[in-house]
C-alpha cells in the first residue's frame, strides 16, 4: 500500500473561510494558491480577501473515477466557479444530480469534509451547492 504524499499535506484549499488573493498593484483577484507573486502582473504584494461565497458555474465535468479522497462520492460534479468578485475557483458542486446542472447555474459555498478523515485530521473546506436565491 503506497502512501500518497497528499495525506501529509498542510497545504490545500482555503479551510473554513473562502478567500482569494488581491494584487496590491494591478488589483487582480486570483485563486488562493497565488501567494508568491501576481499571475497577472508579476508583482509580489498579494493579500487575502474574503469572498461572499456566491458565484456562477462557468465550466464543469462529472467525475466517474475519483481520486482516493473522493472514493464513494462518484459520480460527482467538479467545475470552475466564477465568483461574483470575478475570480475563478475550482470546486465540487454537491447535493445535485449531474443532469440537473449546467453552465450558468448559480451556486453558493457551503462547508463540507474534503477528505474522508481516516488518517485522523478532518479536512473541512468549501464545496458548492445550487443557490436557490440565484435562479431568478
Amino acid at each position: 500500500m503506497t502512501v500518497s504524499a497528499i495525506e501529509f499535506s498542510r497545504l490545500g484549499p482555503p479551510k473554513l473561510r473562502l478567500y482569494a488573493m488581491r494584487c496590491a498593484s494591478c488589483k487582480t483577484l486570483q485563486p488562493w494558491w497565488e501567494k508568491f507573486h501576481c499571475y497577472a502582473c508579476g508583482t509580489g504584494d498579494l493579500s487575502e480577501e474574503e469572498l461572499a461565497g456566491t458565484g456562477e458555474l462557468t465550466n464543469y465535468t462529472v467525475v466517474y473515477y475519483p481520486p482516493r479522497d473522493f472514493l464513494g462520492q462518484e459520480p460527482y460534479v467538479v467545475g470552475h466557479i466564477t465568483m461574483d468578485e470575478g475570480v475563478l475557483m475550482p470546486a465540487p458542486v454537491v447535493g445535485v444530480a449531474p443532469d440537473d446542472i449546467a453552465v450558468g447555474t448559480r451556486v453558493k459555498a457551503t462547508l463540507r469534509r474534503m477528505k474522508l478523515g481516516h488518517e485522523g485530521d478532518i479536512y473541512y473546506s468549501q464545496k458548492f451547492v445550487v443557490d436557490p436565491a440565484g435562479t431568478a
Binding site: T2, S4, A5, I6, S9, L11, G12, P13, Q30, P31, W32, W33, Y39, N59, Y60, T61, V62, V63, Y64, Y65, P66, P67, R68, D69, F70, L71, Q73, P75, Y76, V78, G79, H80, L88, M89, P90, A91, P92, P98, V103, M114, S125
Partner: protein, 389 residues
C-alpha cells in the same frame, strides 16, 4: 546544428505485471544500444525520463539504476522529470548535450511502470503532476481537468461530442495496426459515444490507459552518423521547450494553444521548415481533445478546426499530414516518462521506413513530435528529418 539518431528501441506498450521498472529500462535501453551498433561504454551521458517511480514503484534514483543495469558506468546519469513532458525533456537534454559539443554520444531513455498500483492510487499519483495539494485537492483528476478544456472547446467552437469522437476512431484505426500498442482494436464513432463515461464529456475511448513501457534513443554528433552512410540518416533538427500555466483554472484555450504554438514556431525556425513541410506528426493525446489542440498549435489547422482532420481524412495516413500513426497515447497508452521518448522513436521509424505494415506513411521525410504535460504547463517540440548525405 543537427543531432544524429544512431539507434532507437522500445518495449511493447501494455500492462506488464511480469516485468519491473528496471526490466523495462534494460529492455528498451539494450534495444537502442544494439540498434545503434554501439557498446554501453560508448555512451558518455545518460538522461532517464521517469515521472513517478517513488509513488508507483517505491523506488528512487531511476537514473542511477538505469546506468548501473545498462552498464553505462562511469558516464554521468540523471533522472529527468517534467510531468507528462518528461520523456521529451530527456530528449531535449540529450540534444542539448550533443549540440553543446561536450559529448559525442548520449542515451535518452524514458520508462514508467504504472501498473504496480490500482487505478485509484495511480490517479492520485498522476494528479501530482498538477498542483495536487492545492487545486486538485478540489476533487479534480487529470481526466476531469482536461474534460473542462474539452467542454470549453466544444462550447466556444460549437462542437458536439460526436465531432470530437472521430479523433478516437482514427487513433484506434492505427493503434489496431501497431503491434507495440496497448489497446489494439478499431472502433466507430458510435462505439466511442457508447463507451463508459470517465469525466464528462470525456469517455473511455477518449482516455489513454495506464501503461508499462520503456523507450530509448542513442544520439550522436552529426559527423558520427554521416560517417556511417549505411545507417538511416535521421537527424533531430530542432528541439524547443516551453512552459505555460500549472493550473487548470488559468488554462484558457488561448493558453493551451500557445503552450505548443510558441515552441513549435521556434522549432520550425530552427529547422528551417514550415508546417506545410511536415509529413508525419506524433501529437500528445492522453485525452482525445488534446490532439486537435496540438494540430492547431503546430499550424496544421486554424484554432477550432483541428478536430476536422480526423473526420475528413486530412490527418489520416495519406492526408496532408499524418497524425499519430502509432495510435497515439489513446492506443499506445501513456507510460508517463516514456511517452516523449516513444513519440521520438515512432517518428524515427516513420522516417526510416520501418514502421509496421499499415501505419507506414509513404516516403516520410520530415516528422515532428509534440508533447504536453502538466497538462497546461509543459510544451515540447522536436523536428526530425531524413537527410541523405
Amino acid at each position: 546544428m543537427r543531432v544524429g539518431v544512431l539507434g532507437v528501441g522500445k518495449t511493447p506498450h501494455k500492462i506488464q505485471h511480469e516485468k519491473s521498472l528496471r526490466d523495462l529500462i534494460v529492455e528498451a535501453g539494450r534495444a537502442a544500444i544494439i540498434d545503434a551498433g554501439v557498446t554501453p561504454g560508448d555512451i558518455q551521458s545518460l538522461y532517464v525520463g521517469n515521472v513517478g517511480s517513488v509513488g508507483f514503484n517505491f523506488e528512487n534514483s531511476t537514473g542511477l539504476m538505469a546506468a548501473h543495469h545498462l552498464g553505462v558506468v562511469p558516464a554521468g546519469a540523471v533522472r529527468v522529470e517534467a510531468a507528462c513532458g518528461t520523456g521529451a525533456w530527456a530528449l531535449h537534454l540529450g540534444c542539448v548535450a550533443i549540440m553543446s559539443g561536450l559529448y559525442d554520444t548520449v542515451m535518452v531513455l524514458g520508462a514508467e511502470k504504472m501498473n504496480d498500483l490500482a487505478t485509484v492510487e495511480g490517479t492520485s499519483i498522476i494528479a501530482q503532476a498538477a498542483d495536487s495539494k492545492e487545486e486538485y485537492f478540489s476533487g479534480l483528476t487529470f481526466p476531469s481537468g482536461v474534460a473542462l478544456t474539452a467542454r470549453k472547446y466544444m462550447q466556444v467552437y460549437g462542437l458536439t461530442e460526436e465531432d470530437l469522437a472521430h479523433t478516437s476512431v482514427k487513433n484506434h484505426h492505427y493503434g489496431a495496426r501497431n503491434p507495440m500498442a496497448h489497446l489494439r482494436f478499431e472502433c466507430t464513432v458510435d462505439e466511442v459515444m457508447r463507451s463508459a463515461k470517465v469525466a464528462d464529456p470525456l469517455k473511455l475511448f477518449e482516455v489513454c490507459p495506464m501503461t508499462d513501457a520503456g523507450s530509448a534513443l542513442i544520439l550522436c554528433r552529426e559527423e558520427i552518423l554521416r560517417d556511417q552512410p549505411d545507417k538511416p540518416q535521421i537527424f533531430i533538427t530542432a528541439t524547443a521547450m516551453g512552459t505555460g500555466t500549472w493550473y487548470a483554472a488559468s488554462d484558457t484555450l488561448d493558453d493551451a494553444h500557445a503552450l505548443l504554438a510558441r515552441p513549435a514556431q521556434k522549432a520550425y525556425d530552427m529547422a528551417g521548415i514550415t508546417a506545410d513541410d511536415v509529413d508525419v506528426a506524433e501529437i500528445y493525446n492522453s485525452f482525445a481533445i488534446q490532439e486537435p489542440l496540438g494540430i492547431e498549435a503546430l499550424g496544421f489547422a486554424e484554432m477550432g478546426k483541428g478536430w476536422q482532420g480526423a473526420s475528413d481524412g486530412s490527418t489520416w495516413i495519406d492526408g496532408t499530414v499524418a497524425v499519430n500513426l502509432s495510435g497515439g497515447l489513446l492506443c499506445k497508452g501513456h507510460p508517463l516518462g516514456a511517452t516523449g521518448s516513444t513519440q521520438a522513436v515512432d517518428i524515427v521509424e516513420q522516417l526510416r521506413g520501418t514502421a509496421p505494415e499499415g501505419i507506414q506513411r509513404a516516403d516520410a521525410q520530415i516528422g515532428i513530435s509534440a508533447c504536453r504535460g502538466g497538462p497546461g504547463a509543459v510544451g515540447a517540440i522536436h523536428v526530425y528529418q531524413r537527410l541523405e548525405g
